[in-house]
Amino acid sequence: MNINVLYRPGMAMAKVELQHGEAIRAEAGAMIGMSTSLNMQTGMTGGLGGGLKRMFGGESFFQNTYTAHNGPGEVLLAHSLPGDIEVMEIPQSGLFIQSTSYIASHPAVNVATEVGGFKNWFGGEGLFVLRATASGPGQSVVFGAFGGIQMLPCDGSLLIDNGHLVAWDTTLTHSLVKSGSGFISSFLSGEGLAFRFQGRGRIWIQTRNPKEFGQSIASRLPPV
């Protein structure tokens, strides 16, 4: 499997080249084009429980697996907002991904929807986060962002605005905090809630906040 990201950073698209017999599992709706040699299967990864959890996590209930069953082939994957796409080899310790950023993964990658706890619920990231774990080396996950993707190394502690969080190493611990000193100041500063990461690892952020964008455009539209 070979994955190339084209049209970066604003209009990024992942071109996934598969050898005969290889497959990739993708979020429903992510496919924009593909070879005729591929076969698509729709399924509930992780069974009914997995499907329900994914749905609550802001992803789709079903996922599609694209398999090159008739010689090699390719599938083109993208998300709907302007922004970049990253292909990441999953480290041995695993990777946390914000559920709405997930696009695709190697079929052997286990993507488990985890209850992120109240801290995530209040953080606006949904109640669930995805924990991606690989069964061996060379297995990747593809995630998308609104805006550019920036990797921030954490060694000690780092605060990330909740709307900018995309993915992070599971070696880090995270907790929800108010970014100001008190409730009033965090409310007035417009910063609200943030995630405090502690430990040593990498954090990927998106340079724009989707919710902020949605509100700034939609507030100018007639009410529904």
Binding site: Y7, G10, M11, M13, F61, N64, P223, V224
Partner: protein, 226 residues
């Protein structure tokens, strides 16, 4: 006529420079960004009232288009699409036509003729309007989209494209709209309908879909207070 497309793919802008007086470019009404003060501009309904009405009603293009005519060598004109996204140009040579999705047309020379073509019932099911703009003749044609433009050279094996991402294709290709996989996949896969292209030619795919952006924004709209 010289041309170049800058700032691809996010905010593409085409610069067209005329070599000689009398050279012309036909530009979609809202696509002009800037032009040399010496250029003559004429607003007209291409193809007369009926042709223009057909284009507007059926193909989603403007009733009026502007024709720019060079009055001296070296004069320039800049054009761009409305949404953030990419532009592409094709130099038609009479060997094939280009079919464009409604709204994708930006500019062409007068020796390229534009006609709105019935795309058949399959167009209806594809959710992209019933009509396509058919560009034929000779010379440069410019088009644009929301998203990046990805070109696929379709060979004997064909290619499959989500119907919401098709920008255009050359006339050597035929397509059929169908569902991907079985009936279960149609409703559950989230992929809806796809177009399967066959033949020999080039297909242009957009890496984004304006409907997807609108669907993202919809839940943020304010609620009517009762």
């Amino acid at each position: 006529m010289q041309f170049e497309i800058r700032q691809k793919p996010d905010f593409a802008l085409a610069r067209i420079q005329f070599d000689a007086p009398g050279e012309q470019l036909l530009v979609e009404a809202s696509a002009m960004v800037a032009h040399d003060g010496g250029l003559a501009m004429e607003t007209q309904m291409q193809g007369g009232l009926l042709g223009a009405a057909k284009r507007k009603l059926l193909g989603g293009e403007s009733v009026f288009q502007n024709t720019f005519t060079a009055t001296a060598p070296g004069q320039s004109l800049w054009v761009a699409p409305g949404a953030d996204g990419d532009m592409e140009q094709v130099i038609l040579n009479g060997g094939y036509d280009v079919m464009l999705q409604s709204g994708a047309f930006i500019a062409s020379v007068p020796s390229v003729s534009l006609d709105t073509q019935w795309a058949g019932a399959k167009g209806f099911f594809s959710g992209n309007g019933l009509f396509l703009l058919r560009a034929s003749g000779h010379g440069p044609l410019f088009f644009g989209t929301y998203g990046g433009i990805h070109a696929v050279d379709v060979g004997p094996n064909g290619y499959i494209c989500d119907t919401g991402h098709i920008i255009g294709f050359t006339s050597g290709l035929q397509y059929n709209v169908r569902k991907l996989g079985g009936l279960k996949n149609l409703f559950l896969s989230g992929e809806g309908l796809v177009a399967e292209f066959r033949g020999q030619g080039r297909l242009w795919i957009s890496t984004r879909n304006a409907t997807g952006l609108a669907a993202f924004l919809q839940p943020f709209r304010p609620r009517k207070s009762n």
